[in-house]
């Protein structure tokens, strides 16, 4: 049966742990062995929206496993600009490749692509909805930083209202054991109630605060997010909160030694560059783990044994 990766909501705790183990096995492989895994396979990369890390890390992941990549990184120069439907684009591209990675501004686009495609489909972001490979790489980063995901104390900071990354990560972490959360945000960017209520049934401990310092003192991980200008209907509201949380070396002065700072990137002002050289900074290694995790995801969905 065809396998897809569309939403974190489709994955059980066991699926998540299996993906973490898969990432570990990819990391342990020699580059030569890795190059054989997807030799002869072609990945179709359909990016209807801009991306740096996600697209490049998928392409790098495919190339490192011996596969090849075709696709586009913006829809303007394709048949989409002539009014082609998503379903028709998928029916065409599936003739040329063995798997499809899609990023699309409409929510549910990847699900629809998976419904009509006969090759595996991976969601690389569908509007404000899901970005499951980001969540898996975040989990893999935590596993590598702490040797575990269970029992961690995680602060989610910044735009908790609009950030799909934060919503998916929260739902995924809620499936692990004893993970405790601090939500740190301005009042206007609080975690929506519908995101919290979707974890019903999980024993999740959540505390909300507006104090970043308090979260730093209490947590193992501070997961920073960019406050996204493009999500605000009113620019005045954006100006009010854009610099609400700014992490710099001075803020981290009294942080516990083991505290790690993560960020899905790109950052704007929320993490000062003077944090980069501290042992707390984990966001660039996090981007690196992204490629490893995506290697594992591609291998798994294409049925390769690792």
């Amino acid at each position: 049966m065809k396998r897809d990766l569309i939403s974190i909501e489709d994955l059980s705790e066991k699926h998540l742990r299996d993906y973490l183990a898969l990432g570990r096995r990819v990391d342990d492989m020699s580059p030569d062995a890795c190059r054989q895994i997807l030799a002869g396979k072609i990945l179709g990369v359909l990016f209807y929206e801009p991306s740096t890390r996600t697209r490049l890390s998928f392409e790098a992941a495919m190339l490192r496993m011996g596969g090849q990549v075709i696709g586009f990184s913006e829809a303007l120069n394709t048949s989409v600009a002539k009014g082609e439907s998503l379903a028709d684009t998928i029916h065409t591209v599936e003739q040329y490749c063995d798997a499809i990675v899609i990023r699309h501004p409409r929510e549910g686009a990847a699900r629809l692509a998976a419904e009509v495609s006969r090759v595996p489909v991976i969601n690389a972001g569908d509007g404000a909805n899901q970005h499951p490979t980001q969540t898996l790489l975040d989990l893999y980063t935590l596993q590598n930083l702490f040797g575990r995901v269970d029992g961690l104390r995680v602060a989610l900071v910044g735009d908790l209202k609009y950030s799909r990354t934060v919503h998916s990560l929260f739902h995924a972490l809620a499936r692990f054991k004893d993970v405790r959360f601090r939500f740190v945000s301005p009042e206007t960017l609080k975690m929506p109630e519908y995101v919290i209520e979707a974890t019903e049934g999980s024993a999740v401990e959540v505390r909300e605060t507006t104090s970043l310092e308090e979260a730093i003192a209490e947590c193992d991980v501070v997961y920073m997010t960019r406050i996204q200008r493009e999500r605000f209907p009113d620019p005045v509201e954006y100006e009010k909160v854009k610099d609400a949380y700014r992490l710099d070396r001075a803020t981290l002065q009294h942080a516990p030694t083991h505290l790690k700072v993560m960020h899905p990137l790109p950052r704007v002002n929320e993490i000062a560059t003077d944090v980069d050289s501290t042992h707390h900074a984990a966001y660039f290694p996090q981007a690196g783990y992204g490629m490893v995790m995506r290697q594992g995801i591609l291998a798994h969905l294409l049925g390769a044994k690792i």
Partner: protein, 158 residues
Amino acid sequence: MSPEQILLIPKIENGFVLDHIPAGSGVKILNLIRGQHELNDAVLSVGLHYTSRRLGRKDLIKIQCRELPQRFLQHLSLVVPGVTIKRVEKFAIAQKIVLEPPELVDNLLSCPNPGCITNHERGVTTCFHLVRREPMKFRCNHCERWFAMAELENRLKL
């Protein structure tokens, strides 16, 4: 039905009685009936705001027709779940069922989320899952948003 109510709304020989409609929801059902061309010629009797032991107040609708269209029943189970449907044959109740809210709503609704792909692609089939019974909420299979029934009532694909 009490003798007083029988006086208010006459017995029917053949057809269906929709009973235990929460007061105020009878009008919603009339709108659903109006959207079903199979029921265009059906004779309707409508009673609003009756006293009810179970509901306090209730509405009641009698429809004189041979069958209720499947799509009407699906819409009804969504918009006013809990309604009792009695099939009447020769003035007697031949069958009685209580409509439960559907677990799966297959292509009966359009998604209220303007950013959902199903509102932008031609010929897409929508699907919603019941994720909570009290208060009733459904989740769009594509954009994954949760919606209360009040948000979906005007999204019926009639």
